[in-house]
Amino acid sequence: MSKLIDSLPDANGHFGVYGGRFVAETLMEPLEELRLAYEKYRSDPAFLAEFDADLSHYVGRPSPLYFAERWSRDLGGAKLYLKREDLNHTGAHKINNTIGQALLAKRMGKTRIIAETGAGQHGVASATVAARLGLECVVYMGAEDVQRQAANVFRMKLLGARVVPVTSGSKTLKDALNEAMRDWVTNVDHTFYIIGTVAGPHPYPAMVRDFQSIIGREARAQILAIEGKLPDALVACVGGGSNAIGLFYPFLDDESVRMIGVEGGGDGVASGRHAAPLTAGRPGVLHGNRTYLMEDADGQIIETHSISAGLDYPGVGPEHAWLKDLGRAQYVAITDDEALAAFHALTRIEGIIPALESSHALAQAAKLAPTMSEDQIIVVNLSGRGDKDIHTVAAREGITL
């Protein structure tokens, strides 16, 4: 296989037939301005030094690569290592990207930050960096998600952000993204749109990947230091796919390393109630890029279902679509029930409460480990902590807090 790292996207933001820039004319210039700024600063030593310093001193990087010894023994088979993104400031991997984009916003002279959010983690991470840099911040959030994630809404408000509930369409993440785009197109002169995942029009998928690939770079060095060899498999959950691409990307050219992305299987793929476009969708165009989508026969986007708000999205980053077609990564779906079982297992066996998103990756790893030998290694991206989800878990299990 030829070298994959640094090979894509092409100059127009394409990953094979995926990606690109499918937006109304008013956004073409702002996207070009963003691309030029990013091209300039991604190799600028002062920018990179500031980014690295913030990751160390503000986010708390490097995050540990933790050997889940009891859980590995319990499952019997491969050794499970957890990349502890849950230990980052604000509790998830999202902050890696918001730090990078906010530093870029500052250099571009933008005074106002907007963001979309599903579960609220990206909204909190955006509000956090906006507070720190003294920038105005507006977060768009589906009205349904505002209800489901009240604690994160309050957190964002405490941080000084204005949270705008979005009542159009299905009132979830995809509609929040639509609304953020509408804001951007209107206020484009002074506003920077921090997209939270590796989707959207070029250059977002590549830029967010680059900011998140710190996860994989660290994990690669850490596992080599601890085990003296590369892992056999990487497992990460995929909504838009930013934590997964962040882990996968630095390993793309390590042919012996399998990569498995785990989508939200909801009630099961066969039920039709899920959030698994790579597993059960087909290619189309939404939110500025061509990628796999959940859509009906007429090309309308359909509602997704997942216990995890962060995976409840009908599209996926275009680089994942490309990696799927290429066969370099595999994509599977884990149901709500399987994710919940893994949520409880990790909590009880390792004393770590994982986010429901990450629990999907854990569930897949738990299936995979017993099929492998004890000298093999799986690295799971523990992309976020589960404090935000305890109300969801309690409600699901009929418990009133």
Binding site: V23, K174, D175, G284, V285, G299, Q300
Partner: protein, 274 residues
């Protein structure tokens, strides 16, 4: 000559400007659309823009989003929209019809199948809002092969290089979005529009339509003074939305909105000739 080119030639000879109403197909009910199209023509519309409903109309404000939602309640699909054009053409073979929408429904149908079907039912032009020419070569080729005009947006922040590229890809007319924002947004700076149109005219002979921010006879007349065509969307669609409960009243009342703009535009062009 295409219906669109013939329309602009006719208007130019008469010293008039084109009035182009936009309605979302199937809003608030599929049965309303064809009678509404005829009523708009009778009220003075020169070209009709028919919106293809989409679940995620990213470039549209609340008025047209809600129109999409109303149309999708009845599952108005691209196939239905094409059927409506066929039905309209049974009684009107002159007024150009432009389909306006987002790429995904077209992509799902298939570019070639769509272009062939659109040409067969009597569509004249196609504007896919989220398809810039950079990504559009394949669809543009299909449209041209079937003698459909690919129509593109130009924006206040389109650079001269982009204006040139877009005009080279377009035919029929180009559509200048008069302000940054979504459809149905704030008011209109006619002088800024005039300045930008001068810039656009320097690179193309195509007629220029102007849309966004036109809500009454006065703003229509002011735009008509500098543009070749006036596009009216949200002002009309919000009237339709307000009448969603009494769909029988829609054709007449929507026609009244267009008739007022027609009068204002024609009066303006007459006084302008003096």
């Amino acid at each position: 000559m295409s219906r669109i080119a013939a329309c602009f030639t006719r208007l130019r000879a008469a010293g008039r400007k084109a009035l182009i109403p936009f309605v979302t197909a199937g809003d608030p009910h599929p049965a309303v659309t064809v009678p509404l199209m005829h009523a708009l023509v009778e009220a003075g519309a020169d070209i009709l823009e028919l919106g293809i409903p989409f679940s995620d109309p990213m470039a549209d404000g609340p008025v047209i989003q809600q129109a999409c939602e109303r149309a999708l309640l009845h599952h108005t699909s691209l196939r239905h929209v094409l059927e409506m054009v066929r039905e309209f053409r049974a009684d009107n073979d002159i007024t150009p019809v432009v389909l306006m929408g987002y790429l995904n429904p077209v992509e799902v149908m298939g570019y070639e199948i769509f272009a062939r079907a659109a040409a067969a039912v009597g569509v004249d032009g196609v504007l896919t809002v989220d398809l810039p020419p950079e990504e559009g070569s394949e669809l543009i080729a299909c449209l041209r092969e079937h003698r459909l005009d690919p129509i593109f947006l130009l924006a206040p922040n389109s650079t001269p290089a982009r204006v040139k590229k877009i005009c080279a890809a377009a035919s029929g007319f180009v559509y200048y979005v008069s302000l940054k924002g979504v459809t149905g947004a704030a008011s209109l700076d006619t002088e800024a529009v005039a300045r930008k149109l001068k810039e656009i005219r320097a690179v193309t002979d195509l007629p220029i339509g102007v849309g966004f921010g036109i809500r009454d006879g006065d703003s229509a007349a002011r735009v008509a003074a500098v543009a070749d065509a006036v596009v009216v969307g949200s002002a009309l669609v919000s009237k339709i939305g307000a009448l969603a409960g009494t769909p029988d009243k829609i054709p007449a009342q929507a026609a009244a909105v267009i008739a007022e703009m027609r009068r204002a535009m024609d009066h303006q062009s007459v006084s302008g000739d003096r």
